[in-house]
């Protein structure tokens, strides 16, 4: 937590440049350095991004829920907007999970969608849930009520994540069972290094985009206040 708060004092352009550099390092590692997977060959490399993006999406939703809790509990005036932007980033990365997962499924198994893939189905449910978050938020006029509703719904989301995952797992015994698995590569050596760098790069990119959107929205609000002062 302290790392994140120190991170928010770093000037935004510097953060953007660092995430650019780290992302390029990660891409180089993924495509030029990491060894080819024995089973799946070249297409396995999509995992470095797919898994990292999935984890980043979870982190964004968790951050959104944490800010929501701060809003409800500590009445922090900044927390509502921060929660909203975090959830927004989470949805963006969640969409990327669905897209990259779909591409991997097409490459590996010939189908664009796999009901047997737990993570893909989970992200579909979460995508539906958080899209409803935006519908809820834009259906209420700005004010304390909207902030409260959004915060409470974000908390519901974070409880839904493990419950949904469990549901999808236990549903496997009566829905059409498929034997496709998103088994990761066996970690070791350069594979582990590449994964860690890719994960760090994506987390940092998510944080940068979060800061960019937050700053933009705050500037909007301040300009509006100045205009109508």
């Amino acid at each position: 937590m302290r790392l994140v708060s120190r991170l928010s004092r770093v000037p935004l352009p510097a953060l953007a440049v660092v995430s650019l550099v780290l992302m390029m390092v990660a891409l180089t590692l993924v495509f030029y350095v990491a060894p080819n997977d024995a089973n799946q060959g070249f297409s396995q490399r999509i995992f470095y991004f797919h898994v990292s993006i999935a984890f980043t999406a979870y982190a964004c939703f968790a951050a959104g829920a944490w800010k929501a809790l701060l809003h409800l509990w500590k009445r922090d005036p900044r927390a509502d907007l921060e929660s909203y932007v975090a959830v927004h980033q989470g949805v963006i990365f969640g969409t990327l999970v669905l897209l990259t997962g779909s591409i991997w499924a097409k490459i590996s198994w010939g189908h664009w969608w796999l009901w047997g893939e737990d993570e893909l189905v989970l992200f579909l449910v979460l995508f539906l849930f958080y899209c409803a978050y935006f519908m809820l938020r834009f259906s209420v006029d700005p004010g304390p009520q909207r902030a409260n509703f959004s915060a409470v719904y974000a908390l519901f989301g974070v409880v839904l994540i493990p419950v949904s995952f469990l549901a999808i797992r236990i549903a496997k015994s009566f829905v059409h069972p498929e034997v496709f698995t998103l088994h990761g590569p066996n970690f070791g050596g350069w594979i582990l290094v590449t994964y860690c760098v890719a994960q760090a790069a994506l987390l940092l990119l998510a944080h940068t985009l979060y800061r960019v959107e937050l700053t933009g929205k705050r500037l909007d609000a301040r300009l509006r206040e100045l205009r109508f002062a």
């Binding site: 352009p13 390029m24 495509f31 700053t215 100045l226 002062a229």
Partner: protein
């Protein structure tokens, strides 16, 4: 990877790098805008104070 694949990958990486450079530029613009709004806010309260009407109550 064959040479052709290496070049294709490099092309994608260049596009990605381009997008991230765009993010850096946006970040720079936002930093500048923040500085300008800060300055405006420092000047505005004084102007707003003068404009506000005083209405007698009671």
């Amino acid at each position: 990877m064959t040479t052709a694949e290496k070049y294709v990958t490099a092309a994608y990486c260049v596009v990605f790098a381009g997008v991230l450079v765009y993010v850096v530029l946006i970040a720079l613009k936002l930093q500048r805008l923040e500085r300008e709004v800060d300055e405006l806010e420092r000047r505005e309260p004084k102007a707003a104070e003068d404009e506000r009407e005083t209405i007698e109550v009671g």
